[in-house]
Amino acid sequence: MPFGERSVLIQWPAVIDENVLSDIILFKAKIKNKSIKGIVELNSSYNSLLIVYDVFIVSFETMVNELKKLYSQKERSPKFISKQWKIPVCYDTTFAIDLDAMAHEKAMSTESIIERHSKTVYTVYFIGFLPGFMYLGGLNEKLYTPRKSMPRLEIVKGAVAIGGEQTGIYPSESPGGWNVIGNSPIEFFNPKSDVPCFANAGDKIVFKRISLKEYHDIKTLVAAGVYQLESKVIDD
């Protein structure tokens, strides 16, 4: 459907699903490979792809037909490499300001919450909300926690938090209503780089539990620009 004067919004069924995600990523890669003239922006989310052109769309139908043709082309799918990233997270009480309350609420031990949170492989659906904020799927159902009724005015950079059925990491200081259970010492958004985020939609994330000492060691390495984030290529 048209979205304003120079954007097309393509929608998939309204579900959060890995098959939908891979279909969107594949189509996005096809469009990128074709380098269609006039496209300035491709922005995917859970079940949609936004295509922004640099000029006003004269014939919406022509645009859509062109995209439909491309979508149905059975050509060899473009090479798409996804990666798994190991993100260090410190669940120490220094950072985990909502962990005790959550444990109490759920009648679970803090240890068991941390265990479940750090033993899951999460899928990056897209980046949005804040520069570098990854929408992650795969949170253990036992950890679903409603957002706070009064959002905090300030959630610190690096905060690892749970909001509803989602978990995420605040890439920068921001107001927010999620429950904070830890902090990651690494950078999730580098405005100086032309590729400002290391992860892409379709990548996987695992959290690696670290101690407070390791947290500060990594923080020092990150500040010096020498920290190497662990990652591996995933074979489908």
Partner: protein, 282 residues
Amino acid sequence: MIRVLKAGLYTTIQDLGRYGYRDYGVPYSGVMDAYSGSMANVLLGNRAHAAVIEMTMTGPILEWHCDTSICISGADISPKLNDIPIELNKPVQVKSGDIVSFGKLISGFRSYLAVLGGFKTENIMHSYSMYQGVTKQSKLFKNDELLIDVPLKGFAVKHAAIKIKETHFITKHIEVFKGPEFQRLSKAQQGLLFAKGFTVSKKNNRMAYQMEESLENDLEPIITSAVLPGTVQLTPSGKLIILMRDCQTTGGYPRVLQLKETSINILAQKFTGDLVYFKLRA
């Protein structure tokens, strides 16, 4: 160099925005009123993407340490050069030692000051537009020193006669298209969107304008999806939020309308208490 002696209410450096990074969660930013921002550049002979000063309701006090030309467009905040009133939409020569200041707000809400060659601040992702978390500085402060991007010798000699669209500042009509979730509204709700006037509430800034009036709303939230400047969201409480240039890249409220790009510029000149009407475009 230009020194900021006083910053004013909310003064930033903006160009036409930061495009191509929404997939990393980076907003467009850029001049709120692209019509007036570009006008100031065009009248000086600058390229359209040159960075300008955007001021909001009150202006800064600027001390010039170079000889050049400037042009002010958009809201009339009674601009003065060494305490003598200067015209809007006309290139004006400034010399080293001159002071540019502003006074009372006469019309509009956001004014633009362009300098020959454009301003130069931190370049992040091919844009000078200030945005917290992306650029180090999110607005101008007292004692900031501004540089010129492409310093040119001499003054602008352009005397282009451009007629400013008066309606840009006085019209109450905001032209819109149907948004992705428009069809989910009942016929009655759709009718009300265009029959009622909506007043800009106190909650208006570069990210969004929230409107005062409520609309009965029984729509479910959507799965978080793309939004754009000009997207009109309907919140669970029934308030309309019109997203502006600094808006987030995604949102979960139903997107009922989408502003025409020229209407985003028109809305950028409105402020608390102003009444607007949505007009549906085919």
